[in-house]
């Protein structure tokens, strides 16, 4: 195989005459209480990029577990490279060249790139000490990094790499075991636009080498761009397959949920006249770019989208505004009054709430019940003489559960058992139960299925309509353009421009994100 030049031709290796590398036939898998897969069949040909889409709970993860050899199907066959298995084992899966790149990366952040790629398979020097042959290791790693188009070196510590770069390490790891099918599970969900481009290029490179790819994503426009064929799962069954010519957003959504969706358009159409400035950020500097001040106004009643590349300082800005990080300079005003937020508790007391990026780590407490999570930020209000009143707590939780449509057996259910979308609703519920003035949402729909996404957009719009200033950080281009009233774009720690609705376009957002000038509809006045 030629390790050198990557040929990004769009002509795929896939031909109907080639024998499939992988084929599943009538695979069925049940868990207590649910049928996860119900007679599902599909095939993947060499060098074919399959887009696998479906809502959360449609059976994608069960399918992945079967392909990884972690679970056995109840019935049906899995044929890999001409060999039929009743149930794959982990060894058989790895042995036949199936590699996974998971949404949550499995890298050792404290080790360097080379050590991660060949972890447990290090080339050893001769002798009883079995020392790692570092020179040989580097030789082995170099071509792999070249194949994924890496712009970092083999001895860089993984902790210093961006998310996209870490994904490249995972893909290089897959290549190192001579993978013939690479399964990417939600690889772009945490990537910003430019890095997503790189990843899509890598996928095309894999295809050009004849390696098959299963690309699982909720970001349908990316699936649209890269997939040769789309397989749609719904309720454990094959809802449909779309050939290249028929792949488009609406078709996929229709197959995924069995109906057309209008909520997003509804969220976008509002765009009513916003009120005065609620939150005013003046020359604030954050730890990400201590020399670059940020100026930004968020008005009452608007959804201000905050776009930009990962590492452009958006999350750090949110953390400063919410009092988690220290403000390095500048000032913040709420309703024209100077505000000194020294801790999250101060922010909460002033009605500035954050729905953080990492739901499971910082958004909710997985071990607590829905009710306990919702009352936590406002516990004294649910207490009499400092003793928690269970009835007050339950009343608040029941109301929020109903208002937000949180799907759970009861408000006493542990939040850890809920789906991502419902967990996110719990995060929102705890703030909605109080009186938000400014709501900051950091990647509010990451890893959430389409139905729940639409509901969360609806909630954001309702908040804005009620006069709340909403600041939404998002790396999902469709979302930023579809949901925002205005878009502010960050580049290297500064606001590089603000777009009004007339100037919304992927191109403009991208141009600003890399620090160039957008193409505006009206005569230019620069950033307002």
């Amino acid at each position: 195989m030629n390790y050198g030049a990557m040929n990004y031709s769009d002509t795929s290796f896939a031909q109907s005459t080639t024998a499939p590398f992988l084929s599943l036939e009538a695979v069925r898998k049940t868990y207590p209480g649910v049928v996860a897969l119900d007679g599902f069949s599909m095939e993947v040909r060499p060098g074919e990029v399959i887009g696998l889409v479906g809502e959360n709970g449609a059976g994608k993860s069960t399918l992945m577990k079967i392909l990884g050899g972690v679970t056995r199907p109840d019935s049906g066959t899995v044929t890999v490279d001409g060999v039929a298995h009743v149930g794959l084992t982990v060894e058989a899966s790895i042995g036949s060249g199936i590699a996974f790149v998971h949404q949550e990366l499995n890298l050792f952040e404290n080790l360097d790139v080379a050590a991660n790629i060949f972890f447990g398979r290090e080339p050893l020097k001769a002798g009883p000490l079995r020392l790692v042959d570092r020179a040989r290791l580097r030789e082995m790693v170099a071509p792999l990094l070249k194949r994924v188009g890496a712009n970092f070196s083999a001895d860089a510590p993984v902790a210093t790499l961006s998310l996209a770069q870490q994904q490249m390490v995972e893909i290089a790891k897959a290549l190192s075991i001579k993978a013939r099918l690479v399964i990417l599970d939600e690889p772009t969900s945490s990537l910003p636009i430019a890095e997503t481009e790189k990843l899509l290029d890598v996928i095309k490179g894999l295809r050009a080498e004849g390696i098959s790819v299963i690309f699982i994503s909720h970001r349908l426009h990316e699936v649209e761009r890269v997939a040769d064929r789309v397989v749609v799962l719904r309720d454990g069954m094959l809802a449909g397959t779309l050939p290249k010519s028929e792949i488009n957003h609406d078709q996929m959504v229709k197959l995924m949920i069995g109906r057309m969706l209008k909520e997003r358009e509804k969220a976008a159409e509002a765009g009513r006249a916003p009120g005065g400035v609620a939150l005013s950020v003046n020359a604030v500097r954050t730890s990400a770019y201590p020399d670059h001040p940020v100026d930004l106004d968020v008005r009452r009643g608007e959804i201000l989208g905050l776009a930009g590349l990962v590492g452009s300082g958006r999350t750090e800005l949110a953390r400063v505004l919410f009092g988690i990080d220290e403000r390095l300079g500048g000032s913040v005003a709420l309703d024209r009054k100077a505000l000194n937020v020294g801790s999250a508790a101060d922010a909460v007391a002033n009605g500035i709430f954050l729905v953080p990026e990492d739901r499971k780590l910082t958004g909710i407490l997985l071990d607590l019940s829905i009710a306990q999570n919702i009352s936590l930020p406002n516990l004294p209000a649910h207490a009499k003489r400092l003793l928690v009143s269970a009835s007050a707590e339950l009343a608040t939780a029941e109301k929020q559960k109903k208002d937000l449509g949180i799907k759970a057996p009861s408000v006493l259910t542990r939040t850890g058992t809920l789906s991502g979308g419902n967990q996110q609703k719990v995060v929102l519920a705890k703030w909605l139960a109080m009186n938000p003035k400014v709501m900051i949402l950091d990647e509010p729909t990451r890893g959430i299925d389409i139905g729940a996404k639409a509901e969360i957009y609806g909630l954001m719009r309702a908040l804005a309509d009620a006069g709340v200033a909403v600041l939404m950080i998002s790396s999902d281009m469709e979302e930023v353009i579809g949901v925002s009233d205005r878009i502010a774009v960050m580049h290297e720690g500064q606001i590089s421009g603000i777009l009004d609705r007339d100037d919304f376009s992927q191109e403009n957002v991208l141009l600003l994100a890399v620090g160039k000038s957008p193409k505006l509809a009206h005569a230019v006045g620069g950033a307002q």
């Binding site: 988690i324 999250a344 922010a347 936590l376």
Partner: protein, 331 residues
Amino acid sequence: MSKKDLGLLILILVVGAVVTAINPRFLLPINLANTSNLIGLFGILSIGQAFVIITGGIELSVGSLVALLGTLFIDFIAVREMDWPLAFVLIIVLGAVIGYVHGWLITRLKLQPFVVTLCGLLIYRGVARFYTADGTAGFAFGQNFPTLEFITAGRSYGVPNSFIALIVIAIVMWVVLHRSVFGRYLYAIGKNEEAAKYSGIRTGRVVIAAYVICGVLTALSAIYFAMYTRSISPASHGQFYELYAIAAAVLGGFSLRGGEGSLIGVILGTVLLQELQNLVNLLGIPSSLNFAVMGGVILIGVLVDQQWGVFRARRRMMEATRRNVAGAPAE
């Protein structure tokens, strides 16, 4: 009372019954009174430790503190002839201040609880020995403090007052831990400190408060221990007491990762530990095996608890499968 606590209570009763069967002296009033006195002393200490453990922290200096504060207390009233209520308050305040300093170092300077309190363990022991010039702190012949002695070492209706003190403290602390806003914060921080912070809780203050509570209860038990032994050699007094307290909490269902455990649990844990001590004495087991017996029982207890959890999870799965199979034709 949770199932875990109930299991522990049954274990205590079974062990008690077995010991009684072999040596009926177990149930003699004098033996029960002595044991419950020790339960009172160690129980107060263990509750303090439990408040720290629930936040995911640990307090290793309590044994040394019992020595230092006990030495100071006896010195204050016996040598410096301070009024005992004043000395009592001073010692409690000193315990609170030390707890505050520990909490401050841990939350503000981000030092690890293990390291901070390990240094405390060494420092307070050293200071106590230095203070008495490695001698013994005790009362002069004929010196007595009737009220103080009644409160700390006396009995009411045959029940040691130290045990009664434990009951009162336990009830108050049960309300604090299981019913109050502060208690909920403690559990939330123990489960996930970051998420608690993102919910607007001033986590630093809450954690410091936990160490202050531990310091106060440790100081209180230090006074009780001092009045129980009436003379203190700082080189050995209170040695390993931090481990008794941690052991009681672990036996009582506390997780050292934080966020788990109940007040009844830590009390029952203390009771079981003292019962085991008593067992070693009554059954003629060489007292040198004392620690080995305790360690063995804790290990078995933790193992049984974990296996029980695994067993229950498996049974739940199987029941769900059965329901599913039964309901399958309906699909």
